[in-house]
């Protein structure tokens, strides 16, 4: 089999992707023009930076540091607000023209109520999918725990978002929970059409020894990149063993082999974050080529055939399982 014969197309809730590489949220995807460029660089779909009702400046610099094994960030969910993001999404779509790839709008809020409002608002831009980033502090809860920390709260957010839009909803989970499968089950029961996993891990902290100051102004930040790849693979495996909705695997994927690994544990597509900076925006084309070559070598001719090969027989996330 030649790499050209491999069918790399995949789908999330009926939305067709020419290949399974997607931009991860918060990675370069602030503007419509850059989203369109990422599409030109070969991504199967693009995801916007997460936006909230109001614009947010985020944390002061430094906000992102590459510590070698991975990246740590506390950008603080800075974004121009949902109104501006609606315009950026429209711009992206227009600029993509013929070579249009699906656009996923990522949203977040600090209350369950606002999650619904921002989801309704962003729907005006008619994104193909909405991703609810629930890895942010819930100001209504004590300690501002993350929405994604408990199955119960995660489900509440999901219900609210679902009832605010007709666009399919992806819920993005945090890996920093005792049992991610439980959270996955809860959000699916609450109506999530798909799951993406994972957001950044940790949190972690780095210190400058000389000044004895945390390197990030926010002191702590989430880990991403190669450091967290095994964690992300395990999370997706656990989720695909628990639910049958499409899963977008995210966390540390750098090349075609890593994409194949994620799909083998049940993902339908793979979000690419840190590697976009490490290998440049062309990473989507590179990963796709590497994936096709690998699949051709292994004699696997479609994503559907690759998907879930590493899951136990009968796992809900395996194609053809009737869970």
């Amino acid at each position: 089999m030649s790499p050209e014969e491999v069918d790399l197309s995949t789908a999330i809730c009926g939305v067709h992707l020419r290949n399974p590489t997607m931009l991860a949220s918060g990675i370069v995807g602030l503007s419509g023009e850059v989203l369109a460029r990422v599409a030109r660089c070969g991504a199967g779909a693009v995801v916007t930076k997460s936006c909230s009702l109001k614009p947010r400046v985020g944390h002061p610099n430094p906000v992102v540091v590459d510590y070698g094994a991975g990246v740590i960030n506390a950008v603080g969910l800075s974004n121009p607000g949902v109104e501006a993001m609606v315009a950026e999404i429209r711009d992206a779509r227009e600029l993509m023209g013929e070579e249009r790839v699906p656009i996923v709008a990522s949203v977040f809020a600090h209350s369950i109520y606002d999650f619904g409002t921002v989801a309704r608002y962003i729907s005006e831009a008619e994104p193909d999918l909405i991703e609810a980033n629930i890895s942010c502090p819930n100001v209504e809860e004590e300690f501002g725990q993350l929405f994604s920390s408990t199955p119960y709260v995660a489900a509440q957010v999901t219900r609210r978002v679902k009832s605010s839009t007709n666009i399919p909803v992806i819920v993005k989970l945090s890996p920093n929970v005792p049992n991610i499968a439980e959270v996955a089950k809860a959000v699916v029961a609450a109506g999530a059409d798909a799951i993406s996993a994972v957001n950044t891990a940790g949190p972690g902290m780095l210190l400058d020894v000389e000044s004895a100051r945390p390197v990030l102004t926010n002191r702590v930040g989430g880990l991403s990149g190669p450091a967290i790849r095994p964690l992300a693979v395990r999370c997706v495996y656990d989720i695909a063993n628990a639910v049958s909705v499409p899963v977008i695997g995210i966390g540390g994927q750098s090349d075609g082999r890593d994409v194949a690994e994620m799909i083998s544990v049940g993902a339908v597509a793979v979000g690419v974050g840190t590697a976009v900076y490490r290998r440049g925006m062309e990473v989507f084309r590179h990963m796709t080529t590497e994936l096709a070559e690998l699949m051709a070598r292994l004699g696997i001719d479609s994503i559907e055939r690759l998907r879930g090969r590493g899951l136990p027989a009968g796992a809900p996330g395996r194609p053809g399982s009737d869970a």
Binding site: G26, I27, V28, G29, L30, S31, E33, V34, A36, R37, K49, P55, R56, V57, G58, P60, N61, P62, V63, V64, V65, D66, Y67, V71, N73, V75, S78, N79, P80, G81, A84, L206, D208, E210, S211, R213, V215, T217, G273, T274, V276, Y277, G280
Partner: protein
Amino acid sequence: MIPQMSRITRVLFENRSVATFELDACVDAEPGQFLMVWLPGEGEKPISIMDPDPLTITVARVGPFSTALHQRQVGDAVGWRGPFGRPFTVDGRHLLLVAGGYGAAPLHFLARRACDAGISTTLALGARTGDDLILVDRFRAIGCTTVLATDRGDVGYQGFVTDAILPDLAQFDRVAACGPEAMLYAVARMCWDAGVPAEVSLERYMKCGFGICGQCAMGDKLVCKDGPVFDIEELRHNRDFARFTRTATGRRVSL
């Protein structure tokens, strides 16, 4: 890349609002690249490399961060990481540098490399008043011809530096510019018209500084990674160049 701390070995006040800081470090960089300079507790900002060895930066006091830096003294520590970004091309036989304000800093580094390479180098420097013309002696010391222009006309040509050099543009086979975006646009226009190859160094609000966060988008370019130096041909159809910028939230606003 975690910031490293270096100590200030020399501070030179160029005028009442611009100071040059020499650090006990050197950096393996190309002209036009920049650093993320960190003052723990005060923030981190993109600053061009004025000289790589010893590492030297020239900073205008414009707000909280730059004011804090100006208060630092010899012996104090300054954090930095980098170099980041795409550099200027060191090429041509007759190179014209067009600088406005602290834009002279990266061009100084370029001038040094160009002069070392035997390129005849002319600096055209513009500012509001004579006092705002910085680094002139340094450029002369490394062998640059200088053309000065001030809005007031108290030193050199009275008016825009771009107007000052326009008549002589044909003498140059390459142009590099850094300064206010309106000036860069004027340079680009001139060079598009005259068909002279040119590069300009741009600024946008930066967060990561290395191409991951998307904050510095200018059209479909990331200024921190695709730039800050751009060939003017890359900017011909850029919707934002000289027209739009992005605030710290990422909102696109008119320049």
